[in-house]
């Protein structure tokens, strides 16, 4: 029985024309290069792995753009596919073509993503103007005590957790940016953020519960 993805192999298009010489490579040759890079990556070659992921990303982006409209949604989908490839890279058999393996993973994740979004949309209600009470000035004034309470709760946290909350949530920095700003590792920032949220939950939620 032949693979149902074989028909997709010729559709591999070159979309990452970063330089002229690469764009001139035939799609078949490119897929073979990717297979070789993946075989090296499975053996622990980080440079080959990084090159492979960088080279397949524009292709994944083009696949995602056929199913998603929003630019940030496309990037999210590409990252989801990259994470999946990373998690199951041991399932690739270098004696078989790389393109069907890649295309199936990408399509599965993209379809799953669309299904999830449709399910979520089914549970959401569109915001009507009457819902937007937070914009009214008097409500903003009422929100002030809540904000003071939140500030007080954040102030009661250990310094590392306070820093994580302020940078990641209030200033909305990325993990990497926060890591550069504080000198803390991203793992440590994540742990501190997680603990801070737990503590804030304990401090703030019980009072609001009926």
């Amino acid at each position: 029985m032949s693979s149902d993805q074989n028909g997709l192999t010729p559709r591999l298009r070159l979309v990452s024309a970063g330089n002229q010489t690469r764009a001139e490579v035939r799609p078949g040759q490119r897929a073979l290069d990717w297979a070789i890079l993946m075989a090296h990556a499975q053996e622990g070659d980080r440079v080959a792995y990084q090159r492979l992921l960088q080279e397949i990303t524009p292709y994944l982006r083009s696949l995602a753009s056929r199913r998603c409209n929003d630019r940030s949604d496309i990037e999210d989908a590409v990252q989801d596919v990259l994470l999946t490839i990373h998690s199951i890279r041991h399932t690739y058999d270098p004696t078989r073509p790389f393109a069907p393996w890649l295309v199936t993973i990408a399509n599965r994740r993209l379809i799953d993503r669309i299904r999830r979004q449709v399910r979520q949309r089914g549970r959401e209600v569109a915001l009507a103007p009457e819902h937007e009470i937070a914009a009214e000035p008097e409500t903003g004034a009422e929100a002030a005590p809540g904000r003071r309470e939140l500030e007080r709760a954040i102030g009661s946290l250990p310094p590392a957790q306070q820093q994580a909350v302020r940078l990641l949530k209030l200033k909305e920095l990325s993990l990497k940016e926060a890591s550069v700003a504080t000198g803390m590792s991203t793992t440590s920032l994540k742990v501190n953020m997680h603990r801070a949220l737990k503590s804030l939950q304990k401090l703030l939620i019980p009072r609001n519960e009926p």
Binding site: T57, Q79, L82, L83, H86, S87, H90, Y92, I105, K176
Partner: protein
């Protein structure tokens, strides 16, 4: 949202060498050896049904036994094949001929040799023993298959769970036919088809969740 280039850098930095999966046929054979060992252990523990030699001369019984064994073998091969991204989904059709042979013979036995269940036909003791065999065979085999196929969590969890559970139910039904004197047709129907429906139905309903449960943490993000 993290930048895609940063994600690639961090994936490449954290990357470790991986052990490639062995060929799907080889892994299916390993699971079948395990299944054989479970059935052999149960045979030692529970004993083969006393009238087995006599029943082996009965063509519909032999045909349904061969059908269930073949369904088990082909379904597990199909499960290992469809779990891989670069193999066709059409492999799920592989166990179908054997499944037709197995189910049609059960149906044939029911039609031609209908034995109504009298007051003695449904002894609670035998039913409990049947249930013990069902649990003792299907649970370890399902768990082993779930762990061996955990990487399918993000790809085709439902069809992998369905074909896998078909394999488990076929092997379980084989064990039931070998160890228990279930002569009333309704009992045969109930235990064979009931086991298959129970396991395949559970896989259809909870397959995705079960795979997420055993899959590595990165799978549990969505």
């Amino acid at each position: 949202m993290i930048n895609t280039d940063d994600l690639i850098d961090s994936l490449a930095t954290d990357m470790r060498p991986v052990k490639r999966l062995r060929p799907p046929l080889l892994r299916a054979c390993c699971w079948l050896l395990g299944a054989g060992a479970v059935v052999a252990l149960l045979a030692v523990n529970q004993g083969i049904r006393p009238d087995l030699a006599q029943r082996l001369h009965d063509t519909p019984f032999v045909a349904s036994l061969v059908g269930s064994i073949l369904t088990g073998i082909l379904a597990v091969i199909a499960a290992f094949l469809v779990s891989l991204p670069d193999r066709s989904r059409l492999w799920i059709l592989l166990p179908m001929p054997a499944l037709v042979l197995w189910l049609s013979n059960i149906g044939y036995q029911c039609l031609t040799d209908w034995v109504s269940i009298g007051p003695d036909g449904m002894s609670p003791g035998e039913a409990a023993r049947c249930f013990t065999t069902l649990a003792a065979t299907s649970l370890p085999l399902s768990l082993a298959l779930l762990v061996m196929l955990r990487y399918a969590a993000r790809l085709r969890p439902i069809i992998v769970a369905l074909t896998g559970s078909l394999a488990v139910s076929a092997i379980t039904s084989t064990a039931l036919a070998l160890f228990h004197t279930i002569d009333a047709s309704a009992m045969i129907l109930m235990w064979n088809v009931g086991t298959a429906v129970l396991l395949v139905g559970t896989a259809g309903l909870f397959g995705r969740r079960m795979f997420r449960w055993v899959a590595p943490r990165v799978f549990a993000q969505d």
